[in-house]
Point group: C2
Chain length 345, copies 2
């Protein structure tokens, strides 16, 4: 890594949590992710969800086709499947053989397209055993259903020590950690328990969602919490603990859906993810920690080789577009200080 006031060059990052969608929306948002990341763990909550080996192959083929037809740089979609109440160990093994490296657990009803989620995370023991056996990672949307919005994540956390105790070999990731409580729990558990942190949870608090104004483009699950929670996330992202790494949870929804009487959850952060992270890490004097957070700790946890290529950030301001493919990006219309330039062959 080399850093000075004008530019920063680090190993090319990976995004361990992204929603790429399908069809036209996939084609519209994919270039933003590919322009900054060498790999990304693609969430399976498409409509219908990715649940089986066949689904994995079909969805990966669609993503690859979009990359090739649009002449995008080398990019590897890391595939995942969505768990349901009736997922079997056989389906886990087949999905793994098809290339899925992770399985996502959505508690039923907590977020976009989660109607077929899992009723009780503790009922899937044979599935977890199979995942531990083949080496798949369990990705947890860690929110309790029917809880107070602000407490939804905290009320889920008791699941983590139980799973960690029962499945010491199973690697599990608390996705998009949003509270100081979550950071604390993940820190205290063994090394097979990690957490992703998004860019927007490092920036927003609840006041940016429903403060003086209601801002649906800042509305996500888990919802952004208090300044203290954000401070805990910033600390976790920057203090060199390999349990915490980047998963943007970039989740595009069309503007027409977001600016409506009933907006879905999701912040489309892909266009600004790394530019903002450089800015944030610089602000906190933690530029030296950025590479670990975005390029090393995630790959290590997933037991993937670290990327060989580099990416260079230049201090060259740019204007975030007001809209991209019908979607309003995070920080739309704002000027960001750093530009990203992937190098590839």
């Amino acid at each position: 890594m080399s850093a000075d006031v004008r530019s920063l060059t680090i190993r090319t990052p990976d995004d361990f949590h992204v929603h790429l969608r399908q069809g036209d929306l996939l084609r519209a948002v994919l270039p933003w992710t590919v322009g900054q990341f060498r790999r990304a763990l693609v969430m399976p909550n498409t409509n219908p969800p990715v649940r089986t080996a066949d689904d994995v192959e079909r969805y990966r083929a669609e993503i690859r086709a979009a990359i090739h037809s649009d002449g995008l740089p080398v990019f590897e979609p890391l595939m995942s499947i969505a768990l349901t109440d009736v997922t079997t160990p056989e389906e886990i093994r087949a999905a793994y053989d098809a290339g899925a490296i992770a399985a996502k657990l959505y508690p039923r009803g907590v977020t976009t397209n989660s109607d077929h989620g899992v009723r009780d995370p503790m009922t899937l023991r044979p599935v977890y055993a199979a995942m531990a056996d083949v080496g798949m990672v369990l990705c947890l949307h860690g929110e309790a259903v029917d809880a107070n919005v602000i407490m939804a994540e905290t009320q889920f956390l008791h699941v983590l020590p139980r799973l960690a105790a029962d499945f010491p070999v199973l690697r599990m990731v608390l996705e998009h950690a949003s509270t100081a409580a979550a950071v604390d729990v993940v820190r205290t558990l063994p090394r097979n328990v990690a957490a992703t942190i998004t860019v927007h949870h490092l920036v927003l608090t609840l006041a940016d969602v429903v403060g003086a104004r209601c801002q649906p483009h800042h509305f996500c699950k888990p919802i952004a919490k208090t300044p203290d929670d954000r401070a805990a996330l910033l600390h976790a992202a920057m203090d060199g603990n390999p349990k915490f790494f980047l998963g943007t949870d970039s989740a595009p929804h069309l503007r027409i859906a977001k600016e409506s009487a009933s907006a879905p959850a999701g912040v489309f952060s892909a266009p600004v993810a790394l530019s903002l992270l450089v800015e944030i890490f610089e602000e906190y004097g933690a530029m030296e920690q950025l590479e670990d957070f975005v390029s090393s700790f995630g790959a290590d946890f997933y037991d993937l080789p670290r990327n060989p290529e580099v990416i260079t950030f230049r201090r060259a301001s740019w204007l975030v577009p007001e809209e991209a493919g019908g979607v309003v990006p995070f920080r739309a219309g704002m000027e960001l200080a750093w530009s990203a330039h992937r190098h590839w062959h």
Copy 2:
């Protein structure tokens, strides 16, 4: 009062907190308030705000003109002024002489058109003394600025015992109480401290604003809180304590503003206010308490005669319009069980 399963007749209610706006919007929303209420305390946060005796006379004339030109039933707008950092005791006396019965304190920056609000509520002592002297009521938007959204009201509450101790003759109303903490504080203070409760805070919790979806038509200040907070408000509205009475805080904003990237705070509840209240009080077996909450306790606190006329609610379902004057009403498109019919001469 007479009640049976088919109809309920009570003294005509008053709304001690309503935003009637100006111009076309005033003309569009006024019939909904006038159709159910004999009097309403009209909030002064117009643009520009109502601050002086002249403003009071001008705004009241506009409201009265709308009533007369539209052939609406007898309705008395109760006027208020907005306090600023530079309001003088002389202005208070002049506004009172012009017919203002209350003055509203908005902490600066907490809600719609509050940019000119008060920096520190404890700096207006000469104003409060003048208000106590003439018999004006102090209406408090009880939220601290720069606080966590959920804690904003709780962090304001310390102001109440201080004001109550320093101005034992000044009547003050914590507007749109939204927390169990606020209910508790108001209960424990002397009789010169009361609170209004809205309809939507008896119905919504935070999950209805930013739960599975983000619903800007449910976004208000103070934001709807937890199920426990709502239970405390329901209890306060129904247990016969004269400190708690109805103020709908009906606050219309055009659909185009609400369904946007940055929606203003406010729930347009006027069209459904009493229908919903009858339904809620019936559900809790508290029909006998409804008249006190909507028609008696507020008038008593404001030292106004109770209304002589009655209103009859019939169990006749109706469909809440999807839109009224460009505004989406609370419970738009839903079927409500009770219809209201004011009797007037």
